[in-house]
């Protein structure tokens, strides 16, 4: 009997990014573990999608598969209708921790990806400078990471990712290493940055409130082996237009309770 029922790729794909019939198994000498089963969803251009699920359910695995860092047991990823089978420059990845290189200045950290791809930093200079100016980091380009606060470091990490102009951003619990107050402020700020830049975003988080406050849709995964349990559409009325403000919307609590129930079925 086959481990899983791999399906063939479909044809009518129009979204920015599509995850189609992804299965993932981990093998060890003792046997294998099913991590992901039959994951399919798509993300539209400019959409903010969050993935929540119990810890250890394979959220980060899914993100790594989308990023092309690991190959799924079967299934495919499409971006702009093209099959993605390795790391793509259309995708940017932001980690839980900022992973800034302590031995490099802020500027050198930001231009890291550009240098690795053998591109000329001069081509990106204007773009980076405007990002730095907008987010209040222009005065710090010659500073070193250990001279910055946690929130500033995370913003530098974001600019490092944005510098290469990716179309889709993958965020792996990007705020979980920050203290609560900084976390609320930075998530608000980064949300604005991403909207202004018109990025398509997939964020993995275990924080339900964070997911509700930032996303257009929330995908709830089940316990391992992870399946998609439910997809929630999140809409708030016009007056609650930022992640911080929408927490005041009465709808917020209702979304929270529904997702909470779905997670603890």
């Amino acid at each position: 009997m086959p481990i899983n029922n791999c399906k063939l790729a479909g044809d009518d794909i129009l979204s920015k990014l599509t995850v189609k019939d992804v299965f993932m198994n981990y093998h060890s000498l003792k046997g294998f573990t099913k991590a992901l089963t039959d994951i399919s969803f798509s993300v539209e251009e400019g959409e903010f999608l969050s993935i929540v699920g119990p810890s250890g359910c394979g959220k980060t695995t899914l993100l790594n598969i989308i990023a092309g860092l690991i190959k799924p047991s079967c299934g495919e990823i499409f971006i702009d209708n093209e099959n993605l089978d390795s790391v793509s420059s259309k995708i940017g990845y932001m980690f839980q921790r900022d992973h800034l290189f302590e031995w490099s200045s802020v500027w050198n950290n930001i231009t890291l990806g550009i240098k690795i791809q053998h591109k000329s930093p001069d081509l990106y200079k204007d773009k980076i400078t405007s990002l730095l100016k907008n987010y209040g980091l222009m005065d710090f380009v010659n500073y070193y990471p250990d001279e910055l606060s946690g929130g500033m470091r995370q913003k530098v990490a974001l600019i490092r990712t944005l510098a290469l102009n990716p179309e889709v951003l993958l965020l792996d619990e990007p705020f979980s290493a920050l203290d609560y107050q900084t976390r609320l402020n930075i998530s608000d700020e980064i949300f604005k940055i991403l909207k202004e830049e018109g990025k398509t975003v997939i964020m993995v988080t275990h924080d339900i409130s964070e997911a509700i406050s930032m996303s257009n849709r929330i995908l709830v995964l089940s316990k391992r082996p992870a399946k998609i349990r439910k997809i929630f559409n999140i809409t708030f009325s016009e007056s609650y237009n930022s992640p911080l403000k929408c927490r005041e919307d009465p709808e917020f609590r209702i979304y929270f309770n529904n997702i909470w129930k779905e997670l603890n079925y």
């Binding site: 790594n64 990023a67 860092l69 790391v87 420059s89 995708i91 940017g92 990845y93 980690f95 839980q96 921790r97 992973h99 290189f101 302590e102 031995w103 200045s105 890291l112 990806g113 240098k115 690795i116 791809q117 070193y144 250990d146 290469l164």
Partner: protein, 274 residues
């Protein structure tokens, strides 16, 4: 306003007291070190002169001084020192470079590092000096043998330490570079080596000590010149003054070389952290 000024004044005063205490402690430490040194040599001298110990077996500082002057007058002192220093520095540099290159190779290929693992364990446990007779046959009765022994003694430890340093680099940082599409060589040069600088420096520090061991061992076995030779030669002709003088010079040189590495460390850390 007066109140504020008064408060400021108090802070400055408190700070001055703090600085003063630290400086006094520093001075006390240096003074005590000097007293121990002087007392040690004075006691040695007195004990020898008064016949509490036999100066033939233990020498005395004054006899050592005379011996030093004699060596200097013969014009061989600096030649011996120079040769030993040259061998040590060369052995030290070569084993550091070779060890680091092999560590990079092991990091590059998991297959190679898994295959070589038991061999490295055996080579690390083996007393390298046991290989000396073979090396003398292969490398001849001279300086090349001393260098080879020195490299053998410190290279395995270098490989193990540096490789371990490479392996402990944060895997998420490697993942980050991979999302930029970095090649293995780029991961090595952009991440692995810079973040392993502290490990490399501590490997250098261990190597300094081991290189001295290697060189002196080597000189015991084959040399006609150098401080190790002086020590063995002095022993053979029952000239313990020469032996003691050589040992003291050796201590000073080893100390200076260690300090030099520390200086390099400070410089490098300064560059690394801006």
């Amino acid at each position: 306003m007066e109140g504020v000024e008064l408060l400021m004044l108090d802070y400055t005063k408190e700070h001055q007291v703090y600085i003063k205490n630290i400086n006094t402690r520093k001075k006390k430490i240096i003074l005590t070190r000097l007293i121990i040194l002087v007392a040690f040599f004075a006691l040695w001298e007195i004990a020898g002169d008064l016949g509490w110990i036999d100066p033939f077996l233990t020498s005395t500082p004054s006899r050592m001084w005379k011996n030093l002057i004699k060596l200097y007058a013969e014009g061989t002192l600096f030649r011996h020192i120079g040769i030993t220093c040259f061998e040590t520095i060369l052995g030290f540099l070569l084993s550091t470079v070779i060890g680091t290159v092999i560590a990079i190779l092991l990091w590059w290929s998991d297959f190679i590092s898994d295959v070589l693992d038991p061999y490295i364990v055996v080579l690390n446990a083996l007393p390298k000096i046991a290989l000396a007779p073979i090396i003398i046959f292969w490398a001849g009765n001279g300086m090349s043998t001393i260098i080879v022994i020195t490299i053998l003694i410190s290279v395995i430890v270098t490989i193990i330490n540096v490789f371990h340093g490479f392996k402990t680099v944060d895997r998420d940082k490697i993942r980050l570079l991979k999302t930029f599409g970095a090649s293995k060589f780029q991961i090595l040069t952009y991440l692995i080596i810079p973040s392993s600088i502290p490990t490399l420096i501590s490997a250098l520090k261990i190597n300094v000590g081991l290189s001295w061991v290697g060189v002196i061992m080597g000189e015991f076995l084959v040399a006609k010149e150098g401080l190790g030779f002086l020590i063995i030669y002095g022993g053979q002709i029952s000239q313990l003054d020469t032996v003691m003088v050589s040992i003291i010079i050796l201590s000073i040189l080893a100390y200076l070389m260690y300090e030099a590495v520390e200086l390099v460390e400070k410089k490098l850390t300064k560059i690394m952290l801006h």
